[in-house]
Subunit: 148 residues, 2 copies
DNA sequence: ATTCATGCAAATCGTTTGCAACCCA
DNA sequence: TGGGTTGCAAACGATTTGCATGAAT
């Protein structure tokens, strides 16, 4: 059993949940497709290759659970469905998304320069920021080159 | 007719759309409830006071149109429905949202300190940022005071 | 008059839920 | 064994669409 599988097992046990074949399969698919921002339906299609009998509802339930346990992150790229990525928050691998409004591609930035802004917010708004989500909209390199 | 109504009329005419009573009513409601982040259903309820015969579908269609014309902004606070606010982008009144994960309240920050980050993104990622959306999650003042 | 917009109801889509059968701890 | 978990199908809620009627330019 891999490192991550063990970690998952522990996380589930701590909260009184069971490590089932289906849950393993769902997490494995997300891990095998890092940076692809798979939607629930896409995850379902991939999981079916390993687990042909799995139901869509089970995938939804697994994703809901992983999201609550903060193993994964729900993303919203305004395309009408939920997408997910592994939560690397604890390792401080926070990143933001660059969404190209021309071709729809999504890439990532590793930067995190929001600390100063968060300090200001605490002072001015008395609001304690614990997390943030940032989406940048614009034109990717490929689209900009095509434009010329 | 107010400034904004005129602006709306012009925006619609430019694109070959008509200024109908219903569209006026929808925009008026959003304007009359600034900073309230009304959901479609809430907008519908308010609009019915002025326009009792209006159908929910018409509200959806008006909001879709205004969003495409960038008169309004669609917001997503993860509560399962679309919310909207007037787009003050052109006036550079850009703001971000502070979402309290305890009580669910949403407030606003006027700050915009992302320019430096956007410059860096252009250099490192060759991605030209035209717009961005930022959501901060944390604890509002009221909830933090209750905690103590 | 023409063309676009509306209201209504039905259709759609993503997601959730109830329940009997099932399986991990 | 027993309570969490699954698969299935039905239910759900938000949003969209088809169509005949109605209104704005």
């Amino acid at each position: 059993m891999s490192n991550l599988a063990n970690e998952l097992k522990e996380q589930l046990k701590e909260n009184g949940y069971k490590l089932t074949t289906q849950r393993r399969a769902v997490l494995d698919v997300i891990l095998e497709h890092e940076n692809e921002h798979l939607s629930t339906e896409e995850i379902y299609e991939y999981v079916k290759l390993k687990c042909p009998e799995i139901g869509l509802a089970t995938v939804y339930r697994a994703l809901l659970l992983f999201d609550r346990l903060e193993l994964i992150y729900k993303l919203d790229f305004d395309d009408g469905c939920s997408r997910y990525e592994i939560n690397r928050h604890k390792e401080d691998h926070r990143h933001h998304h660059l969404i190209c409004t021309q071709c729809g591609s999504v890439s990532e930035v590793e930067e995190d320069l929001l600390e100063t802004l968060e300090e200001e917010i605490l002072i001015k708004n008395k609001f304690l920021v614990k997390d943030h989500r940032v989406k940048f909209y614009g034109y990717c390199q490929a689209c900009r080159e095509k434009e010329e």
